[in-house]
Symmetry: C2
Subunit: 286 residues, 2 copies
């Protein structure tokens, strides 16, 4: 039996578009309805065969759907769900792809009408690009997808979402939302904060009559590529994952200060040990 | 007239090997003598046509040379120069490729014998790889090379080193050593300290029963690639560029703390402004 007769994808960009592509490719979905605000992007999605049809109205979009994927920016997920909730068909499963889970799950679960079910999710995948043109069916292949069920989660609905991500090629891991938020704060949100701060520090250094940035070579450019990410998206993530992010920023801070003390003290063996420990960890994830 | 009749390259790795390759390719050097400790690497350099012959004795290696390139780790440059100084031919020009300049130039200049001349230099180029097998003749093509002459620098010797790097395809910039050290502290040494600290922070987070690092995706891996760099080399750089590095670490720290305050205060417009400023700087060096 196919995964879904009719699926609504709200937000047809890199994530929503890539998921729709693979499910259609595998024949796991009867019809995909795209929902979004920008007509050119949605028209392009139809041309590319990512979706069957589209609407700008999310309430109309979810009509008759047995599966809804919310792939909008993190701040919009709960507001969109609040709008569509009254229009969800009985038995409909709603899941999302937001990179922050505690705030989203705790807001979304109480919004669900009787007989429809919410499952929080976050595929750990992405590229620097956005929009449906950037989507591709193997985006999730071999990547992890974290689901964050609660005691309220409907088991068959969880099973359906697990199956959806397995069809997409992901390894599905379930954990509580607080743990998820700390993990992504560490491996994704913190590096972005560090990169944004580094570029502002180097770009803001004004003790010379020319910009230091003009001397940057390939290494600096590679290292700071993520500081080109969308400012509005990262504003929302920083606001929504505030407490986990602060914990990780402070954790980083302690390590950075420990290194600063080694540099200040000219501690040769301490410095080598610090760098070696880091190199070993880094090499373990090559 | 060719640049050099006989050139000694002390340290035939990525940097020394790449410079020897391009100068030979252009017919700008009569003979290249390689100096190093590891016979297999030096034999390989002969096989690859990077050098004509080699010796393990730096004093013998510089005999009769009119150009000497010191491409050893930063901590060895001055000690090696102290050994070879009595064996330098009159008129010989000695230059280096060390990524720290003030400590090296201030130690090396007084070591030079009458009639031989030192010019400090640093090509802003490199890859993650090392050894002569990693060298290639276009490594310096289109890259900047910073030279740090002083009031003691012999003008014709400076001219010769400028010409050498221009033959290698670099854009040569002259500045004082203190400015150089601050620039590389900012664009290279600081990012390494940040990356090493980030990996140690994330790798050292022990509040879960599993390692957070196992969740790292492509973004984290790309961002922390430089934390795989050689710990001994970075120990030496941190020791030798201590004061400039501390200044830049503190400068970064202030920006990171400013961002932390914005996150803690939930300051949406402040966060977006911070990220946008960074994105603009980063995009300007694409």
């Amino acid at each position: 039996m196919a995964l879904s007769r009719r699926m609504a994808v709200i937000g047809v960009g890199l994530i929503g578009g890539s998921l729709a592509r693979i499910l259609r490719e595998r024949g796991e979905v009867g019809e995909v309805v795209g929902v979004g605000r920008q007509a050119p992007n949605l028209q392009r999605a139809v041309e590319l065969g990512v979706i069957d049809r589209y609407t700008h109205d999310p309430c109309e979009g979810v009509s008759g759907a047995d599966l809804v994927f919310l792939a909008t920016p993190v701040c919009s997920i709960a507001p969109v769900l609040a709008r569509i909730a009254p229009f969800l068909a009985p038995g409909c499963v709603v899941t999302d792809g937001g990179s922050v889970k505690e705030a989203i799950v705790s807001t979304c679960e109480p919004l669900m009408p009787e007989g429809a079910h919410f499952v929080g999710g976050h595929p750990i995948a992405g590229t620097e690009n956005s929009g449906v043109d950037a989507s591709f069916s193997t985006l999730f292949q071999g990547k992890r997808c974290i689901l964050t069920p609660t005691r309220q989660t409907d088991p068959p609905s969880l099973e359906k979402v697990v199956r959806m991500w397995e069809i997409a090629g992901s390894e599905v891991v379930c954990m509580d939302a607080r743990k998820h938020d700390r993990i992504v704060a560490a491996i994704s949100h913190l590096p972005h904060m560090v990169a944004y701060s580094l570029v502002n520090a180097v770009g803001g250094y004004d003790r010379f009559d020319e910009s230091i940035l003009s001397y940057s070579a390939g290494g600096f450019r590679d290292f700071t590529r993520i500081a080109s990410s969308d400012p509005a998206m990262w504003r929302d993530i920083a606001l929504m994952n505030r407490s986990a992010l602060l914990e990780m920023m402070d954790f980083f801070e302690r390590h950075f200060q420990a290194l600063r003390s080694l540099v200040e003290g000219g501690d040769a063996s301490g410095l080598e040990e610090f760098f070696l420990r880091s190199k070993k960890s880094r090499d373990s994830i090559q």
